[in-house]
Symmetry: C2
DNA sequence: GATTTGAGTGCACAGCTGTACACTGACCAG
DNA sequence: CTGGTCAGTGTACAGCTGTGCACTCAAATC
């Protein structure tokens, strides 16, 4: 990408109809930026983010270490960009899965399916996020925590539209939403542990994911909001 | 501990009634070993295990880097020892909390209280374990996974003694057990995020933990084992 | 066409890393 | 008293780390 023989940049023909090889300067920059993100993700396949060095990422992206700073002021900033990349579209997709609140069952199936497709399409991203979620007190973990809180917030709002949940206090609603988000994360982990390509195992994992959510939600109609504290013995 | 002026080793009086300063050789060794574990835990207060160097740990423990190998063949081995230290007593304590299966409520309260005391008494250990749980594919993460599976296994066995759960298939039982273990881990994380010393906040966190477990368990009597798949619309 | 901008280069530096090697000296068994 | 064991020492080395600095040279701007 740097000093090598690069025949793609023709002398004239400045702005034609967006051909593959010819690029503006800022487009070229963004391409290198993406190369850095992709390089980092590659290296993160079997290691933690903290053990990742700037030099390593730069080398794999095909640039010299010091050029890294033209794109990110630190590795942490790159990490945050990776978090954003992961959740950018997913949040909206999951919200869409709950637009018409029919049955829990339908909502569960749609959400799990969306999550499944998204994880399989971007394994590296989700492996990174689930790993870094608790891995330290750095800015990356904090960014992930913020994103997850937004997921849970979205969900709490949507849950409030359901029959049995209409009367629940906000605290209980958020507790349930957190429980569901946690279950979804567990599903992500399950999927990442399932060897890719084994579609039978995938179906099993998805079935377990749906069952897990049903198990959480089956109690909803029988929960008495914040009455609590009494030992009812069963 | 090494060449420094060490007045504690008196010339004679070999094996008296276990005074503090006088030690056998293997006892001295084990003391250094413990110093290494403690040093590692100190350093892990705000960083990931992977970013921990052998030299650093050795220095904080008061020995020279190469002496580290007298105790552990690698940092990974030390990490595994830390995992073991964390779960060694806890597993039995939690089992004891479920010896007489009275009510869910009692079981919940006892378990949460045990976990609470244990976390507060060994914050560093639990911070380490919750962080490293997903942090990579290394031997440490694997050791943690094994321990957690044992916790869940214990729990599944004990759950099988309860009224409504007697007829459940093993799969469903394990799913429920995993759900509960996950909730307990979430509680650990909550406790570690709660500033230590704020007893009011502690009580709130414990209350949330109990409520979360109740929310999971309230559905148990209404779950129809593996009937599933049908969309029952609520 | 002349000038400015800025992505990427190459070198340099101090500081850290794991670990090989030969060593010391206190403890312990004979 | 003698000799072996072994926890801990000190030196050394190659390889990696982040980042400062002066640079090139194509693209963008005037």
């Amino acid at each position: 990408m740097g000093h090598a023989t690069d025949a793609s940049t023709l002398p004239d023909v400045s702005t034609a109809g967006e051909p593959a090889g010819v690029v503006s300067r800022q487009e070229r920059k963004q391409r290198t930026r993406q190369a850095l993100l992709d390089a980092a993700l590659d290296l993160l396949a079997d290691r933690g983010f903290a053990s990742l060095s700037l030099r390593e990422v730069a080398k794999r992206a095909g640039i010299v270490p010091t050029a890294f700073y033209r794109h990110f002021s630190s590795m942490e900033e790159l990490g945050i960009a990776l978090v954003e990349e992961t959740t950018r579209t997913l949040r909206g997709m999951l919200r869409a899965d709950r637009t018409e609140p029919g049955s829990y069952q339908g909502m569960i199936r749609a959400s799990v399916h969306t999550l499944y497709r998204q994880v399989r399409a971007h394994e590296g991203h989700f492996r990174f996020v689930t790993r870094e979620r608790y891995a330290g007190s750095g800015p990356v973990s904090r960014a992930i925590a913020v994103e997850l809180r937004m997921f849970a917030g979205d969900l709490a709002v949507d849950l409030a539209r359901f029959e049995h949940l209409r009367g629940w206090p906000t605290d209980d609603l958020h507790l349930l939403a957190d429980l569901i988000v946690t279950a979804m994360i567990a599903t992500v982990v399950d999927l990442l542990e399932t060897r890719q390509g084994d579609s039978a195992a995938d179906e099993r994992t998805v079935a377990v994911a749906e069952k897990r959510l049903r198990m959480i939600l089956v109690g909803v109609p029988h929960w008495q909001p914040s009455a609590g504290q009494r030992d009812r013995g069963d």
